[in-house]
């Protein structure tokens, strides 16, 4: 595919991620922080987010699988997830965290498990989307083009 086409696909894809609420303004902030002195900032931060989230989701699964669930611990994990998703602009993941914390307060295992299910889904979706976005970037660079700045 020629560079122009790749660049157009990239711009459209990025726009759709914002439009569909996968990403919010904070992600744009991250892109603005990337510069020559920090050329891989976005990929770096998002990779940290992936690692962090997967660890937390595993911890949440184990915590909710215990005979006596420690809801304070569950809440602490969700708090972490809310923080990191907020910092990278992963809006849908972040939005799942608030009802999750309410379920923790109510100490309701059923609803907590449902929240966990939902948040896992949203996480996998945004992970997939971001990986596709980064692949498009790599293709553009490989084809000798510059990555378009999207407002």
């Amino acid at each position: 595919m020629e560079v122009g086409q790749l660049q157009r696909s990239f711009v459209e894809y990025m726009a759709s991620l914002f439009r569909e609420g996968f990403l919010d303004a904070q992600f744009s902030q991250l892109q603005q922080l990337q510069d020559d002195s920090n050329p891989d900032f976005v990929v770096e931060v998002v990779s940290l987010f992936f690692e962090d989230s997967e660890r937390l989701l595993n911890d949440l699964t184990m915590a909710l699988d215990q005979p006596n669930v420690d809801f304070k611990q569950v809440d602490a994990h969700v708090h972490q997830l809310k923080g990191s998703s907020s910092s990278v602009g992963a809006q849908r993941v972040k939005n799942c965290c608030v009802p999750f914390r309410n379920c923790c307060e109510e100490q309701n295992i059923e609803t907590c498990l449902r929240c966990l299910q939902q948040i896992k889904q949203e996480y996998l979706l945004v992970k997939n989307k971001l990986q596709t976005l980064f692949e498009l970037e790599q293709q553009i660079v490989a084809a000798g083009g510059a990555i378009p700045m999207v407002q």
């Binding site: 904070q26 902030q29 991250l30 603005q32 922080l33 510069d35 920090n38 900032f41 770096e44 931060v45 940290l48 987010f49 962090d52 602490a76 708090h79 972490q80 809310k82 923080g83 990191s84 907020s86 910092s87 990278v88």
Partner: protein, 222 residues
């Protein structure tokens, strides 16, 4: 006629009284008029370009001296400042660090209240600290309380003469600005922040305008 203009308090659309620059023939008249406060500047005829430029420069320069010069960007406030970021979440740390570095700050990140204590034990080189509130083991409130404690003890020693401020201490009275980073900005949190000795709070992730107005309070004078 000039006296009338002045006393009428006529102003330009900017609301400031216009500068009055008089053209006169002799040097003697010049000083009388200027010292009487009737005119701001006097240009002797024939008018030379250099004279005109000096006159305008003085007129504008006079304005600037009246206004307190404020740095207009986060970059000018934060460049070269040593900032400590305290957050147990590595994603948050990295993002906060990236944002502050973008504005030229020299950033150190730590992941616990305990580590913050080590770094902010006087004397040290930090100009300010951004502190997460909810951390395991030692939260931001407790860490700040203990840091203020350390600072008070150090200040007492200096005041009593037991410790000389000396060259290792940049200031005689220690109070490192500590700003809470919080995702939930509510009144209760703010009061608790103030109680334990924090100076202010910013939302997390950073919002540029709020970050600027908060940081300007501490670094505004440059």
């Amino acid at each position: 006629m000039l006296k009338e203009l002045r006393t009428n308090g006529s102003t330009t659309t900017l609301g400031k009284p216009p500068k009055i620059c008089l053209l006169c023939m002799s040097f003697m008249e010049k000083d009388d008029l200027k010292s009487a406060g009737i005119v701001d500047h006097v240009l002797t005829k024939p008018v030379r370009l250099s004279g005109l430029i000096t006159c305008f420069q003085e007129a504008i320069g006079y304005q600037n001296k009246k206004r307190v010069t404020q740095p207009s960007t986060l970059g000018s406030l934060l460049t070269g400042k040593h900032i400590l970021v305290v957050d147990d979440n590595n994603v948050n740390r990295r993002v906060a660090e990236g944002a502050l570095k973008k504005y030229g700050a020299i950033v150190t990140c730590v992941d616990s209240g305990k580590a913050a204590l080590t770094h902010l034990n006087p004397p040290h080189n930090f100009d300010a600290c951004f502190m997460d509130l909810q951390m395991p083991e030692m939260d931001g409130f407790e860490a700040t309380r203990q840091i203020r404690n350390l600072e008070n003890k150090y200040n007492e020693k200096v005041d009593s003469g037991a410790l000389l401020p000396g060259m290792s201490a940049r200031v005689a009275h220690w109070h490192t600005p500590i700003l809470a980073m919080t995702a939930d900005v509510i009144q209760a949190t703010n009061e608790e922040c103030m109680k334990c000795g924090m100076d202010d709070y910013v939302s997390k992730p950073f919002e540029k305008g709020q970050l600027y107005s908060t940081v300007a309070r501490f670094f505004g004078s440059g």
